[in-house]
Amino acid sequence: MPEPAAPVPSPPVPHPPLPPGRHVPTPRELFLGFAKIAVCGFGGVLAWSRRVIVQERGWMSPEEFNEQLALCQVLPGPNIVNFSVMFGSRAAGLAGSLAALFGLLGPPVILMILAGILYRRYGELPELRGVLSGLAAAAAGLLIATSLQMIRAMVKNRLTAGHIVAVVTFGAAGILRMPLLWVMAVVIPISIAFAWWERR
């Protein structure tokens, strides 16, 4: 690394600076770190982001990682993408955000475009029909498992308003196929109100 080892003149940016005493990644390191997360992260990148950011590079403590992830889960949009932008910003401002974001999305986007080209060209070949049907059926099973795991985590002890909200959302979006915007406009305020009520 051609980094000067002596005290780096602290850049003016880091919004809420990362805790002192920890290595603050440069945009280049952010790009490479998040690219590694993207390339290694088969079947969801969360486990790999924890591994790279906390264990390998020591950019965050496990607690900081969890806190920031929790915040990202409140924001709409792909969680880990938000995470990369937020972490990049805290480390190195706008350049850091963009570096982390492009690292995370660049390699998989290129891969998906290649996959898309192959799919459009060969997707209907008889030899591949079975493979693609099998993949789709297996992916459906994985999603069912994910939903049941989430339901199990919520059920815990007793029936709450949350269960009703989950069932209503499922019925409206999955069975009745209503436009999601309408569903959310009704369901989210009610659900947050219930959460508020239960917390009091």
């Binding site: 079947g43 898309g116 049941l148 499922f170």
Partner: protein
């Protein structure tokens, strides 16, 4: 050309809206993407939607790159870039702005309450995604059994979900499905 730019604009609007509605992650808006792409705009068939979803699941990277694949199928490389941009830009902007005030509300009650309120909505939406993909993918007894087996593996064992995808693809390759 007019038509191409119309499609790109429609993709941009649709996926930007999906971005803002994706509570708990990208998979929450699979029902809405399916409704728009399959039912409303007839951009893609039900079966192909589920196949592209599966390919994205099998590939490395965040779940959100399913929209890249979907955009590519609908409108080529420009489509892929537009859907990816639209799905990420609105929420990334929010995340960037929020990062500056992160420490101020990490313990705020309203954040905890909103998060608690979003969890059941996310669960309902992921379950809806599962139903939609399963309905498209399970066309006969063999595919139905694959779905059950892959569910069982992911739910009751600690074996990587990739094993289910690989095994299913293998069964398809040798002509069992």
């Amino acid at each position: 050309m007019k038509q191409d730019s119309d499609i790109l604009l429609a993709l941009l609007m649709n996926f930007a809206l999906c971005s803002l509605m994706a509570v708990g992650g990208a998979n929450s808006v699979v029902p809405e993407m399916h409704r728009q792409a399959v039912d409303v705009h007839l951009w893609i068939s039900d079966r192909k939607f589920s196949e592209l979803f599966a390919i994205a699941q099998a590939a490395p990277g965040p779940n959100v790159v399913f929209v890249t694949l979907l955009g590519h199928y609908i409108a080529g490389v420009p489509g892929a870039l537009v859907t990816t941009f639209a799905m990420c830009a609105p929420t990334c902007t929010i995340a960037y702005l929020v990062a500056r005030v992160f420490d101020r509300f990490k313990d705020a009650t309203w954040r905890i309450v909103i998060q608690a309120g979003l969890v059941p909505v996310t669960i309902g939406l992921i379950a809806a995604s599962a139903l939609i993909v399963a309905r498209a993918a399970d066309r006969d007894a063999a595919t139905f059994l694959i779905t059950i087996a892959s569910f069982a593996l992911a739910y009751w064992t600690r074996i990587t979900p990739l094993a289910a995808l690989a095994a299913a693809a293998g069964l398809g390759l040798i002509g069992i499905i």
